[in-house]
């Protein structure tokens, strides 16, 4: 098992009242799954994704990732954990504007203190795999949205994560570009990467092997 959420609650207190962002979430994810989280705006999709990605905390419940008990870890240890096992893809791509395509993809490796020669090989590999060798010296502003997202995914994958978290990865793309990204996810999943994506689109959700529906922070449906 890759991760296991048990009775996760997350809330904010506004004017003395608790508003639940996540309510009694129980979720087991095996390695190799491709999960789509769906639900209306404000249903807690992104929050759930952030909790899974350890970017955000929760107020109650237990979270096991591989053999670690995430809820018992300190922030620094959690950061260490997601740094090693999780890659993130965002709707707004979130590339660093001042870095070239090559450098954007290289950044995670730098933070893992890899040697320059190793980094070079790995980035070259990734550029090759995504067919963007010709674009490696361009800056994000010189790329189309689809190309930027491609770079975003390449960056998320460069450190060889076990889990890829994608928050509406195609939300800012046109349908053709979106389709290409989803095809790419499907292929990645086939090579063994576990993927959890948040999406609004039924069509994109269909690429996954499992769909989770959220409403007001509660899991409505899990077609496992």
């Amino acid at each position: 098992m890759l991760l296991n959420l048990q009775k996760i609650f997350k809330w904010v207190t506004i004017g003395g009242n608790r508003t639940f962002l996540l309510k009694d979430i129980n979720l087991k994810v095996e390695e190799g799954e491709f999960i789509s989280i769906m639900g209306p705006s404000g249903s807690g999709k992104s929050t759930l994704l952030n909790v899974i990605g350890m970017l955000d905390g929760f107020d109650e419940g237990e979270y096991h990732f591989l053999h670690e008990s995430v809820h018992k870890l300190k922030e620094k240890q959690r950061a260490q954990l997601y740094k090693q096992y999780i890659g993130f893809v965002f709707q707004q791509y979130h590339l660093i504007d001042e870095l070239t395509v090559y450098e954007n993809i290289e950044t995670p490796l730098i933070y893992q203190d890899l040697k320059s020669s190793e980094r070079k090989a790995m980035v070259a590999d990734m550029l090759d795999r995504f067919n963007i060798v010709g674009k490696k010296d361009l800056f994000p502003s010189q790329l189309s949205g689809g190309q930027q997202q491609l770079v975003g995914i390449a960056r998320a994958l460069i450190a060889k994560p076990k889990l890829l978290l994608a928050d509406e990865p195609t939300g800012n793309l046109n349908s053709k570009q979106g389709e290409e990204i989803m095809e790419l996810f499907k292929e990645l999943n086939k090579t063994g990467v576990t993927i959890i994506q948040v999406t609004h689109s039924e069509k994109n959700a269909e690429y996954g092997s499992r769909i989770i529906n959220l409403l007001d922070g509660r899991m409505q449906h899990d077609n496992k």
Binding site: S46, N50, G53, L55, D56, K76, A79, Y82, K83, F88, F90, Q91, Q92, H94, L95, I96, D97, E98, L99, E103, T107, P108, I110, Y111, Q112, D113, R155, A156, A159
Partner: protein, 776 residues
């Protein structure tokens, strides 16, 4: 990792050109001052470090104990050298006798030259070198003189002048037999011209110099340096020196050795030691200046960085999600700050040379060497760290989940008020300095105006150079265009002040006194506050009467008239106070006693008819030559003598300092004003749609800054008044702390600040509502 930091830093600097240049310029300005100060400190530290075997050279000091009070002199009696010659651990010793200034007569002019007498050993003990000539000629040739490069250039315009003759007023003609190389570093022994000891003895014989070469009583004319065979022998030497303790007249002389290295910076009060450079309190003041400038210019960096926090937030969030730790983010921001400060350091160098060439008060031997460059690099790094540490630690706390959300209107910085505090601090300091500067300027202006109104331009002084004045005064007063001649050391300001102790009714005070011509008050129609002038038949030989100025009388009694007719004791002389004179018009109204001491007079004051200055100067010179052909006549216009005093220097310094601080503060506020228009575009657009007019829009952005400047005034103005009050305590009630000065000072800062802000906020009026609201 570092490479990546550098890369992103440079790209960020390049991308945000406005912010970067504001940061760099602000830092460069303060760093230029910093570089000069560090170079100054370095030059001070390096003083005399060019002598080989520096650690073995010591100077013999004289400790004089008289009436229980001990005074330390940098000089010692000449016979001491011979007595000490037998000490086994002394390798070499040299006597340097100071002759004072003598006029070197060139074709057009008299050039005053500081002369010393010494022996060839001088060039063995010290690192001074001869550029040309032979040290031996200093003993072999009784008419030899050595000039330094600088002196040779001053006199001849070149340095290859061996064999040329120079003519000194009073001490004869000599031939140049050696050129002393100008030392590369500053020295406590700045030499202009050197003669042999033989010349000193000859001049002693003919009475030009005091007879001191054989005398233990004269210990103020020459310095004795010895080189030990090892620096460990210092204690041994000090023990031996105890054997030479002498009793002379009323005092006891003891001798101690001072390592040459300890001369600069001066750590104790030593008399006759005029070229030691800066002492520790001077060093502390300079370090404090660097420190406060660094802090103030760092504030700029901090507030500009925080203003830009939003645009950096996304990058920080992304970096954290791809695995950066907080320490790595901090390191990245610090590298960026250090690069900015290094670029600023680079830009400050041309500024440094500009300042060195244009501000006369910065007067020292400026030279780059490896240590200074390394020191400056460290200074650059420290400045970068100081500037960067706060933004780095604040920005690095951003959590990805906060900054990567789709909604951007979340509150990122709880510390967003911090930049307001920084602006207030910067402007408080600026307002303080400006208010003080205006007070100072006003005071100096009044001073100058006072001197101008009291002094006619038609007053000359003739320096007496220790000669009696009776005959010469008579002759000059008979010249046709001369209105009157006074033999006085005071003419609206003192030429020469001395100390005495004034005792009255069990109260004893140290007070300055000045010798005055009794006629001065009558001739100048000075109105006494109370009492009378010296009587017409005042005797010359026995001092009977004195005048006090108001400040001096106030030391003893509130009602100054009370002291008139009273007998007071000045040192050991009993005299009667006969009148109270108003305080001096110029400068500081210090307490002064006006005495009639004809032997003390140093100059004649000659009042002439307009347009006759040239003729009278010539006539006076002729008369002087007739009586004292050996000494050059020195006639000057009194007004020139009084003007351009230290006050102007201080004004220049504070003016410069205040402007630097003001420019730095203006740059900070410029960046933030520009930013605040940028982030409020949407709000401004909405307001515009709702019907606000341009002026209202601009004001809505500007007013926040106006409030900050007013808050700064609440701190800055009282601080400025406090500084002004210090000046007032030192310089007296002429220092005006009134509202006009304060308003001018504050107004200057407020206008510069608001114009700076407006240059940016004016854009608020031009916001295109449709465009900004659409793109949001």
């Amino acid at each position: 990792m570092l490479k990546n930091y550098l890369k992103i830093a440079f790209r960020n600097i390049w991308k945000n050109k406005l912010f970067s240049s504001l940061n760099i310029l602000g830092l460069a300005l303060s760093m230029a001052v910093g570089v000069i100060i560090f170079a100054r400190l370095k030059a001070n530290y390096d003083t005399d470090h060019f002598h080989p075997k520096l650690k073995q050279i010591v100077r013999i000091l004289t400790k004089e104990t008289k009436d229980g009070e001990q005074t330390t002199w940098a000089t010692s009696p000449e016979p001491l050298e011979v007595e000490m010659a037998s000490l086994p651990f002394i390798e070499k010793s040299v006597e340097v006798r100071f002759g004072g200034k003598y006029n070197l007569q060139t074709q057009n002019d008299n050039v005053p030259i500081d002369i010393v007498f010494s022996t060839p050993c001088f060039f063995e003990v010290f690192g001074f070198k001869l550029l040309a000539g032979n040290v031996k000629s200093l003993t072999d040739n009784p008419s030899a003189i050595f000039l330094t490069e600088q002196t040779a250039k001053k006199i001849f315009g070149k340095t290859n002048v061996i064999g040329q003759t120079v003519q000194f007023e009073n001490i004869g003609t000599y031939s140049v037999e050696g050129i002393i190389e100008d030392p590369v570093l500053q020295t406590h022994l700045p030499i202009e011209a050197m003669f042999s000891m033989g010349v000193a003895k000859k001049l002693e014989k003919n009475g030009t110099l005091k007879n001191s070469s054989q005398s233990w009583n004269e210990y103020k004319n020459s310095a004795l340096y010895v080189r030990l065979n090892s620096k460990d022998k210092l204690n041994l030497l000090n023990n031996s020196l105890k054997n030479y303790t002498r009793k002379i007249d009323k005092s006891v002389l003891e001798f101690v050795a001072q390592p040459l290295e300890d001369i600069t910076p001066q750590s104790q009060n030593i008399q006759n030691d005029d070229h030691t450079g800066m002492n520790y309190s001077g060093i502390r003041i300079l370090l404090f200046l660097v420190f406060s400038l660094t802090i103030l210019s760092s504030f700029n960096y901090v507030s500009l960085s925080l203003a830009r926090a939003l645009s950096r937030a996304q990058e920080i969030g992304v970096r954290k999600t791809v695995g950066a730790t907080r320490a790595q983010i901090i390191a990245q921001f610090l590298v960026e700050a250090i690069i900015i400060s290094m670029i600023a350091l680079l830009f400050s160098i041309p500024l440094v040379f500009f300042l060195l060439n244009n501000i006369p008060i910065i007067n020292f031997l400026f030279r780059f060497d490896l240590y200074l460059i390394m020191g400056l690099l460290v200074y650059g790094i420290i400045t970068g760290l100081t500037a960067g540490i706060l933004p780095a630690s604040i920005l690095s706390t951003f959590q990805p989940v906060q900054v990567l959300r789709k909604m951007k209107n979340i509150k990122l910085l709880r510390s967003v008020g911090l930049y307001k505090i920084l602006i207030v601090i910067q402007f408080s300091v600026t307002i303080m300095l400006m208010v003080f500067f205006v007070i100072l300027t006003d005071f100096e202006k009044k001073n100058t105006a006072n001197i101008n109104s009291a002094l006619s331009p038609n007053v000359l002084t003739l320096s007496l150079k220790g000669e009696p004045y009776e005959n010469i005064k008579n002759e000059i007063s008979q010249l046709s265009h001369v209105e009157n001649v006074l033999a006085t050391n005071w003419y609206y300001d003192a030429y020469k002040l001395d100390n005495c102790t004034l005792n009255w009714k069990n109260k004893s005070q140290k007070v300055f006194y000045v010798s005055i011509d009794p006629m001065t008050i009558e001739v100048e129609k000075i109105k006494l506050i109370a009492g009378n002038n010296f009587p017409k038949n005042t005797t010359k030989n026995i001092e009977q009467f004195v005048l006090l100025n108001e400040a001096a009388a106030k030391l003893f009694t509130l009602n100054t008239a009370n002291i008139i007719g009273q007998n007071v004791l000045i040192d050991t002389t009993n005299v009667e106070v006969i009148g109270i004179i108003p305080n001096q018009i110029a400068g500081n109204p210090i307490p002064i006693i006006y005495r009639y001491l004809p032997n003390d007079i140093v100059a004649l004051t000659i009042k002439i008819k307009p347009g006759t200055e040239h003729a009278i100067t010539k006539a006076c010179t002729e008369i002087w030559k007739h009586y004292y052909p050996q000494k050059a006549a020195e006639v000057r216009n009194l007004k020139n003598k009084y003007m351009n005093e230290s006050g102007l220097e201080m004004m220049g310094f504070f003016g410069f300092f205040a402007s630097v601080i003001m420019i730095i503060a203006a740059m900070g506020i410029l960046g933030i004003a520009s930013y605040s228009v940028e982030v409020r575009k949407k709000e401004i657009g909405i307001r515009k749609v709702l019907g606000a007019n341009k002026i209202k829009l601009v004001w809505s952005v500007t007013k926040n800054f106006a409030v900050l400047i007013i808050v700064a005034a609440i701190f800055g103005i009282p601080a400025g008044i406090l500084c002004g009050n210090f000046l007032r305590n030192k310089m007296g009630s002429n220092v005006d702390l009134g509202p006009i000065n304060i308003l001018i000072g504050f107004g200057l800062v407020a206008i510069v600040g608001l114009i700076t802000v407006l240059s940016q906020t004016i854009r608020a009026g031009q916001v295109n509502a449709v465009k900004v609201l659409k793109t949001e």
